[in-house]
Symmetry: C2
């Protein structure tokens, strides 16, 4: 059965993709894009390293704009990113019978809670899967045994996170996105071990 | 890395075992026994069908006795079964660095909540894994694509659930366990597809 995984090229969504593949699903990795920047390229390279098909889910820029407005109003990015993630899941649910993402048991945001999952599955008649089975220690154990990764300072050309297009849009609007997003490290999957 | 799965031979714990195996863990399926009846035999046969090692986790009868007392006092089995499941997890956590079970996102009991999981992992310095990633529809999809199963009316010789020893102990004490446990169907994994 076909299952899509919302995919950034990072370790969590890569683990989700590989798990579903090994359980026999026909996995397609998808990365949302809002037309501001081709930020899906790092994800497409990681997908290739995993040997899994990858495609871009093109969504309307108005979603990104709304998230940016929220972030500028809030002064921090969490709610805006959560909004985008929910919109991406809803859009994916129109195209795939199974929608998965790499959110983990210990994640706070973006993450669907149990009620949101039940609502999504019922409204869209789909199945939703995440990494709630695993805590962060287990994720780390699995990632280090399964993947070769590359860790470097995050920038607009090595990340496929929502953050890339959010920041570019904020900066295009005359804002200063580096005040809202601290510098951080980015871990991308570059190969499969064994 | 070694991981044990609390194992009944049913579809949920079988899916947990196979998932961890396919992710590269050194999986050992374990079935708790309290010395009242050799109820682990159906589980050991299912484990063999999966090609995974199986062992019995022998625990003190006093745990079962305490659960039976709770069940008789409550007039229904949920809390007693939850008590047993927690005790089994605690015992397994003394022997294995990773403890997994087949509880699902939609299960109510026996099931650890998020706080109990965090407490367990911290107190015992272990990793705990369950099937929270998946809803019941996905479990059904996976089970039908992965396993051959046999479904029949549950009895003491085709089930390795905690219920078997609970019922026998209640009946040995002069009670009538069939008033507390409704007749139900039992699904055991008897083979691996493909």
């Amino acid at each position: 059965m076909k299952a899509c995984v919302l995919y950034s090229g990072g370790k969590d969504s890569s683990l989700m993709g590989l798990t579903l593949k090994r359980l026999g699903f026909d996995v397609e990795l998808i990365t949302a894009n809002f037309g501001v920047y081709n930020s899906f390229i790092p994800a497409s390279l990681s997908a290739k390293a995993l040997g899994l098909p990858h495609s871009v889910l093109n969504l309307d820029k108005s979603i990104l704009q709304h998230a940016v407005n929220m972030i500028l109003e809030d002064g921090f990015p969490n709610e805006g990113i959560k909004y985008i993630h929910n919109e991406v899941i809803e859009a994916a649910a129109l195209k795939y019978p199974i929608v998965a993402d790499g959110t983990r048991r210990d994640d706070k945001t973006p993450k669907l809670n149990r009620d949101q999952i039940q609502s999504l599955e019922a409204r869209k008649n789909i199945q939703y899967i995440n990494l709630d089975s695993f805590g962060f220690k287990t994720i780390n154990t699995l990632v280090s045994s399964l993947f070769d990764v590359k860790k470097e300072k995050s920038n607009k050309d090595n990340s496929s996170d929502y953050e890339v297009e959010i920041r570019l849009l904020i900066d295009q609007m005359g804002g200063n996105s580096s005040e809202l997003f601290p510098e951080h490290y980015q871990t991308n999957v570059v190969g499969l071990k064994g």
